[in-house]
């Protein structure tokens, strides 16, 4: 190869950009890790391949997390934020924030998936690999400074996800979800790409920095092409974050996908979408702020309302949670709409807390599916859960309430934060819509939260008298969680990795709900753009 390069170089000197591998280390760790998992698991005996691949995968995620945190300190000093790899990738607090987030989600997903994915022994490796790969895609999206790199990240993320959704064997529901996701994902990618093309045409570059410079310094004769491009990019990313009216796939896919995957998708894909949205619009299109900000407001309003309203009439737990996540997406958009550092900080805070909650929630649902021995759990099926599986019931309720925004959970602060941002930008109407949608949403959250405590029937009630004390230990003050965790786990006498995931989610949700200051500051500092 070298001679070839040399030849070309001799004719027209090609300048190679310096490659700072450390900047994309988390992505690389993920990718390399995925390959390593593939290799190792095919080398070890079959009966331990599951354990090996999960362990290895988790290790990869942990390493990535460690590296991300290392990067976070690296990028801690002012002025260290920089564009690397010829301006294609950013290494800034914003990106690092998402690295951390994605690493955590990946780790949680792997641990949850170990118990909850209904897979053949060999295929667990595929699960691990795909999770790691799609995480690397998501990371790339968060750090991309070039629209094409962004597109690549998007596709890496998406393609892995298409497969993940369809992973479980003998699950036609998963396949239907997968194909829906795939077809619509491809469709929206095409739109996104067309948008990229138009932006390229209008500005002459796909690099966000250059786009910004161009827009800031030139007065466009006609901004039609640019605006069209911007709109289409918005559509493409709106699809990822399931904003109305690009949300239609979400309920269908969430419902059909295996629960850990749903959680992963709801957290990672959405967060990546938001990361990209924030990055593109705030660092690239900020000169056209007055054009797109109101649009975000409208979309946010509709997203919140549609999510809340449609969730009310659902009967399937996962589908309800899907609509709930649409509702939440609207709230995150509200932070964007605020178009201020505060708003973006609020969105980031919302994202990270929401990710933890939603991963935990879907893990819980997965565990519940396992306990009940059926997939497609209906809300009605939750009846009597507090007696059958008190820990799950408690976690489920806590995580549901966190989504509802109950005080002393991160959900409360998250909502409070974005509404605060919206109000600080004087967006009163949308802030009110947000709160009204929250009020509507409370309706179905409560319905779900109560169901585990409803008795199955009167007869069953009296027979289950013995289990009552257990249930009692479960349901008390919110902050009783940490202590109670042990008890309930003991009660189940089974400490599996999914339980750990759920417990972790619950603890984080409540712990950070009370001790809220630091995370909020972190989220606020991750805002690079202002």
């Amino acid at each position: 190869m070298s001679f070839l390069i040399a030849q070309v170089a001799s004719t027209t000197p090609l300048k190679f950009p310096p490659i700072e591998y450390s900047a994309i280390a988390p992505e690389l760790i993920m990718v390399v890790g995925a390959i390593a998992v593939l290799l190792v698991s095919s080398l070890v005996p079959r009966h331990i391949s599951k354990a090996v691949s999960i362990t290895l995968g988790s290790l990869v995620a942990l390493v990535s997390l460690a590296d991300s945190i290392y990067l976070a300190f690296q990028s801690g000093s002012p002025g260290a934020d920089k564009a690397v790899l010829a301006g294609a990738v950013a290494l800034d607090k914003f990106a690092v924030f998402f690295y951390v987030l994605f690493s955590i989600v990946a780790l949680l997903t792997l641990l949850a998936g170990r118990e909850l994915m209904n897979l053949d022994r060999g295929r667990i490796t595929e699960f691990v690999i795909l999770v790691l790969l799609s995480t690397s895609g998501a990371m790339l999206m968060a750090s991309a400074l070039d629209l094409i790199v962004l597109f690549l990240g998007l596709e890496i993320l998406s393609i892995s996800l298409y497969v993940l959704v369809a992973m479980e064997s003998d699950n036609d529901r998963g396949r239907e979800s997968s194909i829906k996701y795939f077809m619509l994902g491809g469709f929206s990618s095409a739109i996104f790409l067309y948008g990229v093309a138009l932006v390229y045409g209008a500005t002459g570059s796909t690099n966000l920095g250059q786009i910004f410079t161009f827009l800031a310094n030139n007065l466009l004769k006609s901004n039609g092409v640019l605006l069209a491009g911007m709109g289409m990019i918005l559509v493409g990313l709106g699809f990822k974050i399931s904003a109305v009216p690009f949300h239609f796939w979400a309920p269908d896919v969430y419902q059909g996908a295996p629960s850990p995957v749903t959680g992963f998708m709801a957290a990672t894909a959405k967060a990546a979408g938001f990361a990209a949205l924030l990055r593109v619009f705030y660092s690239g299109f900020i000169p056209f702020q007055s054009d797109w900000v109101p649009l975000i407001g409208v979309i946010a309003g509709f997203t919140m309302l549609v999510g809340a309203v449609l969730a009310v009439v659902q009967t399937d737990v996962k589908r309800t949670l899907a609509y709930s996540s649409i509702n939440q997406a609207g709230f995150i958009l509200l932070g964007l709409y605020a178009a201020s550092a505060r708003g973006v900080g609020a969105s980031l805070y919302f994202l990270i807390t929401y990710s933890v909650v939603i991963v935990g929630a879907f893990a819980t649902v997965g565990a519940i599916e396992k306990v009940l021995g059926k997939s497609g759990v209906q809300i009605e099926d939750l009846r009597g859960l507090s007696k059958k599986a008190p820990f799950l019931a408690f976690s489920f309720v806590t995580l549901i309430l966190a989504q509802a925004g109950a005080p002393f959970t991160t959900g409360f602060l998250a909502k409070f934060n974005v509404v605060l941002a919206a109000v600080s930008s004087k967006h009163y109407p949308v802030a009110l819509i947000a709160m009204i949608s929250a009020a509507i949403a409370v309706f179905f959250y409560l319905r779900m939260a109560l169901m585990p405590f409803r008795s199955v029937s009167v007869g069953a009630e009296s027979s289950a008298e013995g289990g009552m004390s257990l249930e009692d230990s479960q349901y008390g003050g919110d902050s009783a969680v940490m202590v109670k965790e042990e008890i309930s786990i003991d009660a189940k006498s089974k400490l599996d990795s999914a339980t750990v995931v759920i417990a972790a989610a619950v603890i984080v949700t409540i712990g950070l709900g009370i001790w809220a200051g630091p995370l909020i500051s972190i989220a606020n500092r991750a805002v690079l753009l202002f």
Partner: protein, 616 residues
């Protein structure tokens, strides 16, 4: 003042454990003790020169807020002493009487608890040094009378009557409260001393409004038109209650209040005339109604209403002393009448229909004699007490307006007549009840109070004889209270004598009429028209026009407005969300191509929006 309260509390605590009569005796002792105290107070005041016969003391601060300072304290002046004297005096007698009357009742001690509480409230009412503390007593007597009227709660009519009494009283209270608010708004104080000292600063309009509103309160409490209906129903209570509350004390609270606020009344415009007319018309209407009643107590009830009308006539014409005088004497003879009636009812084993009595004078001689004395007194036959007091009132009325006097005079005839009718039907004529009923005279504990009251009824007139100024004991005693508010009599002594004589004649006419009609016969439909028996249908009118329509209104609010409007407005929001959701979810068809279409539509909308922004 606190003694009856203590009695009540003790009775509440230990009444159940005490043997039957002792609870009553204890209660009676407490009231009697407070009577003694009242006498002591009276003597105390009497010892002072007439100008300084006021003493005002504060027990503790009750309600304070902003510039409002209300105390729990007493304002003792000749007027209140007069009141406490006869309130405690009569109460003591009635307590004693009740020991006998209620001897068979299961809830003997409860009854005395209520009675004591009532006396306490009444004392608060008359002794208080400010309008609000008075109100405590004012409402307190209302509440205790509610309990006492509905004492036999198992009778639906008794329960209803008690409730009615309370509610009608409350309507009056509404006026009272509003008046208090007005006073405070303009004067910034509610204690009697300060208010009366500064009432002169108020404009005539304000004073008039205040006076009128207080009058509304008095109308409710003292059962004047148009709020008299509760008093008749109140006869459902045990008879001693009727005697105590509905004859002697509580109903006179309105009169007392009017007398108390005489400085305000005096300054108001035309309120006196209104009061006088309301009073006299009430007197007349009630007297007419009394002529046709068959229930022994209802006759007395209407009679009370009628007599109260006289008192208001006295107030309205500025004859406060006359009103108080009438109040006192009325308390004597009406209490006597009620207790006598109670004795009859007791002896007849709870028979109250006078048509089913007759010739009782032989069977119940003590009751009969005292009852007849009371009758003569109320009829206004000289020289019984009623003659003097009523005479004073009528004379005052004449001075104000002959029309008032005329109505009053007709009423006087009627009074003599209907009481005569009752006496004849009960004690004379033939025995109209089954001889299997073993009628018996009441025990001593009941008859002794009758005797005492009889003596008072006969000689009570001595309190205020119009013979010469020296003999106007009551007027002289009360003069410092009313001062210039009192309308001076301009009637010459000769005219006064003529009027007095006329009064005597009216009494005789009435009695004669009654004896001619009723001494032999017990049934004269022509003299008892149904509309009078139904008290002019006023009660029925209220029932129809107010009670029922408001029930219907309430039902309407509860069933229609609350459910169909207010609640539905709320619920429909929820329903709307559901409805919208059901429609919108149809859009979620499950078809990929549809979703793609929606995405495209969304994209087109966004582009369309940008098109409107493009080129800007």
């Amino acid at each position: 003042m606190l003694l009856p309260l203590a009695g009540s509390v003790l009775n509440m605590a230990f009444g159940k454990r005490l043997k039957r009569p002792y609870a009553g005796i204890m209660a009676s002792l407490f009231v009697a003790a407070s009577f003694v105290l009242a006498v002591v107070t009276w003597l105390d005041l009497l010892a002072k020169p007439s100008g300084q016969r006021v003493f005002d003391f504060t027990l503790f601060s009750w309600i304070t807020s902003g510039s409002l300072h209300l105390n729990v304290g007493a304002y003792v002046d000749p007027l209140s002493v007069t009141m406490i004297l006869f309130v405690t005096g009569i109460s003591s007698l009635i307590h004693i009487y009740s020991i006998g009357y209620m001897s068979h009742d299961e809830r003997f001690s409860t009854f005395f608890m209520y009675l004591n509480l009532f006396v306490f409230a009444m004392l608060v009412l008359v002794l208080s040094d400010n309008f609000v503390f008075t109100f405590l007593g004012w409402e307190g007597v209302g509440a205790t009378s509610y309990w006492l009227i509905s004492f036999w709660f198992e009778r639906p009519t008794a329960a209803a009557a008690g409730k009615k009494a309370f509610i009608v009283n409350r309507i009056g209270d509404f006026g009272y409260l509003t008046a208090v608010f007005l006073l405070f708004t303009y004067l910034g104080s509610l204690s009697y001393g300060k208010v009366f000292a500064s009432v002169g600063q108020l404009s005539h309009g304000t004073v008039t409004a205040i006076a009128l509103l207080f009058f509304v309160g008095a109308v409710g409490k003292s059962a004047q038109l148009p709020l008299f209906v509760w008093l008749v129903d109140a006869m459902e209570g045990p008879t001693p209650v009727s005697a105590l509350i509905h004859a002697a004390t509580m109903v006179t609270a309105g009169v007392y209040l009017m007398a108390r606020i005489s400085p305000i009344l005096h300054l108001s415009l035309g309120v006196g005339t209104i009061i006088a007319f309301v009073g006299v018309v009430t007197a007349f209407i009630a007297a007419m109604a009394a002529t046709s009643q068959t229930d022994i107590k209802k006759v007395l009830a209407y009679s009370t209403v009628s007599q109260l009308g006289y008192m208001f006539l006295g107030i309205g014409t500025g004859q406060y002393v006359a009103a108080i005088f009438l109040m006192v004497t009325h308390a004597f003879y009406k209490a006597l009448l009620f207790l006598g009636a109670g004795s009859v009812i007791h002896g007849m084993h709870d028979e109250q229909n006078i048509k089913k009595m007759g010739a009782l004078r032989k069977l119940m001689p003590a009751t009969a004699v005292t009852f007849i004395l009371a009758w003569l007194s109320i009829a206004g036959l000289p020289p019984f007490s009623g003659f003097w007091s009523k005479g004073d009132v009528l004379a005052g009325a004449y001075q104000q307006s002959p029309l008032l006097w005329l109505i009053g005079a007709i009423t006087a005839i009627l009074t003599a007549y209907y009481m005569g009718r009752e006496v004849y039907l009960v004690f004379f004529g033939k025995q109209r009840f089954d001889s299997s009923v073993k009628v018996h005279e009441s025990p001593k504990v009941m008859t002794v109070p009758l005797y005492v009251l009889a003596i008072l009824s006969v000689f009570g007139g001595a309190l205020n004889l119009p013979i010469s100024d020296k003999f106007r004991f009551l007027e002289n005693w009360l003069a410092p209270v009313f001062g210039h508010a009192l309308t001076q009599s301009t009637i010459s002594s000769s005219l006064r004598f003529v009027l007095g004589a006329a009064d005597g004649v009216f009494a005789i006419v009435g009695i004669a009429l009654a004896s001619s009609l009723w001494i032999k016969s017990s049934s004269r439909p022509a003299a008892e028209p149904a509309f009078l028996a139904a008290a002019w249908g006023i009660d029925r009118f209220y029932d129809r026009a107010i009670a029922r329509s408001s029930t219907r209104l309430s039902q309407m609010f509860a069933d229609v407005i609350e459910v169909k409007v207010v609640d539905r407005a709320t619920m429909s929001v929820g329903a709307l969300v559901g409805l919208v959701a059901r429609y919108v979810r149809k859009v979620q068809s499950g078809y990929i191509r549809n979703y793609a279409l929606y995405i495209t539509i969304g994209a087109i909308l966004i582009l369309g929006y940008f098109v409107t922004r493009a080129g800007a």
